[in-house]
C-alpha cells in the first residue's frame, strides 16, 4: 500500500505525502460507510442476526483500493452485526468495444487499442462498476 501512495503523490505533484494520503483515504471512507449502511439495511430486511460476507463488484476505473476499504470496514463495523464480515472484491477490468472488428475485450493498461485488430477506433463500455452484488447472512 505504501507503494501506491508513493506513486500517487508523485503524480499529483502535491507538496507533502501526508496531504496526499489524507486525500485518498477519505474517498474510501465514504465508500466503506455506504457499503456498511447497505449491508446493515439488507440484513435487517431479512431479519438476519449476522453478516458473514459481502460480495462487492469494483471496476478498475473506480480507483477504489481494496485494502483501504477493508481497513475502514474493520473500524466502522465495530459493534455492528457485520463486525466479523469478510469483504470479497470482484475486479472488473476496463473493457472496450471495437468499432472495426466488433470485439469487446479488456484493455491493457495505458495501451488503449483493440487487442484483436489493434484498431484505436474503440470505446470504453465497462470498468465503472461499483456495487454490492450479494451477501451471506445468517
Amino acid at each position: 500500500m505504501s507503494d501506491f501512495y508513493g506513486e500517487l503523490s508523485g503524480e499529483l505533484n502535491l507538496g507533502s505525502d501526508s496531504y496526499t494520503i489524507q486525500i485518498k483515504v477519505m474517498h474510501e471512507l465514504a465508500i466503506t460507510q455506504n457499503v456498511l449502511d447497505i449491508a446493515l439495511e439488507q440484513a435487517e430486511k431479512h431479519n438476519a442476526g449476522k453478516v458473514i460476507k459481502i460480495n462487492l463488484v469494483v471496476g478498475e476505473m473506480s480507483g477504489v483500493v481494496d485494502e483501504c476499504v477493508q481497513f475502514y470496514f474493520g473500524f466502522l463495523s465495530k459493534d455492528t452485526i457485520a463486525s466479523d464480515a469478510t469483504l470479497s472484491f470482484k475486479r472488473i477490468p476496463i473493457t472496450a468495444h471495437c468499432y472495426d472488428c466488433d470485439a469487446t475485450s479488456p484493455l491493457e493498461e495505458f495501451n488503449w487499442v483493440c487487442p484483436h485488430c489493434h484498431s484505436s477506433n474503440i470505446e470504453v463500455v465497462g470498468g465503472r462498476e461499483l456495487y454490492i452484488d450479494s451477501m451471506e447472512i445468517e
Binding site: 499529483l12 485518498k24 465514504a30 480507483g63 493498461e109 474503440i122 451477501m135
Partner: protein, 215 residues
C-alpha cells in the same frame, strides 16, 4: 443464506443528487461542477469566466476547499456571490454537501452556479451531484497521459479544457495522444484548448458555455 443485493454503493448519494437536480431545474439555475487536479487552473478559469459574463449573467460560486478560504476570497473580490464550503478533510464534494450549500444561496437570483470542486482527479468523479454539466481542466504541465491514468474523471466530463497552452513552447505535450485517450473513454466530450493567462481559447469556452445554458 445468500441474498442478491445488486445495489450501487453510492446510491444514497445518487438519490440526493436527483433532489439537487430537481431543485436547480425548478429554480432555473444552470449548474457547473468544475473539477481538476490541484493547480490546474480552476480558480483562474472561474475568474476569467466571471470577468466575461458577469454583466450578462447572474453568477454564484461555491468554493470547496479542504481547509482554506483563499480561493473564495479571490472570487468574492469580483463581486459575485461566493459561498465557501469546507469539506472537513474530504477529498470531494458529495451530493449532500452540495444540497446543504444550495440552501444558503439565493437560487431565484442565480442563472449560473459554478462549483469549484476539491483539487483531485480521483474522488470527485465518483460522486454525482445533480448538476447540469461537469467540466474538467487538464493542464499542459500535467502531461498528455492523464486520460489513461484517470479514465473515470474523463468519462464523466461533458467538456475537457486543456489549460496553460501558453506553456507549450517549454513542455512536451502530445495532443493526439491526449485526445485519443479522451475519445476512448468519452467520445462525446467537448475538447478545448485554453490559456487563462493569455486568454487564448476563452471565446470558444464562453460560447460553449452559453450554448449549453440555452439547451
Amino acid at each position: 443464506m445468500e441474498i442478491k443485493v445488486l445495489q450501487d454503493i453510492l446510491s444514497a448519494n445518487d438519490r440526493i443528487a436527483e433532489r439537487n437536480r430537481h431543485l436547480l431545474d425548478e429554480k432555473g439555475v444552470f449548474a457547473l461542477n468544475l473539477m481538476a487536479s490541484p493547480g490546474a487552473g480552476k480558480t483562474s478559469l472561474l475568474l476569467e469566466t466571471i470577468k466575461r459574463l458577469k454583466n450578462r449573467v447572474s453568477i454564484a460560486v461555491i468554493e470547496a476547499d479542504i481547509a482554506s478560504s483563499l480561493d473564495a476570497d479571490k472570487i468574492s473580490k469580483e463581486g459575485v456571490t461566493t459561498l465557501q464550503i469546507n469539506t472537513g478533510g474530504a477529498c470531494h464534494v458529495d451530493a449532500n454537501m452540495l444540497n446543504n450549500a444550495l440552501e444558503s444561496i439565493s437560487l431565484e437570483d442565480t442563472d449560473l452556479l459554478i462549483l469549484e470542486n476539491v483539487g483531485n482527479l480521483v474522488c470527485p468523479a465518483e460522486f454525482t451531484l445533480g448538476v447540469d454539466r461537469n467540466v474538467m481542466i487538464s493542464s499542459i504541465p500535467e502531461g498528455d497521459d492523464k486520460p489513461y491514468k484517470y479514465p473515470l474523471m474523463f468519462s464523466v466530463a461533458n467538456a475537457v479544457l486543456v489549460n496553460k497552452i501558453d506553456l507549450l513552447p517549454y513542455l512536451e505535450f502530445d495532443f493526439r495522444n491526449f485526445s485519443r485517450g479522451v475519445g476512448v473513454v468519452n467520445p462525446k466530450a467537448a475538447l478545448m484548448q485554453i490559456s487563462c493567462k493569455t486568454g487564448d481559447g476563452m471565446n470558444e469556452w464562453i460560447s460553449w458555455l452559453l450554448a449549453e445554458m440555452k439547451k
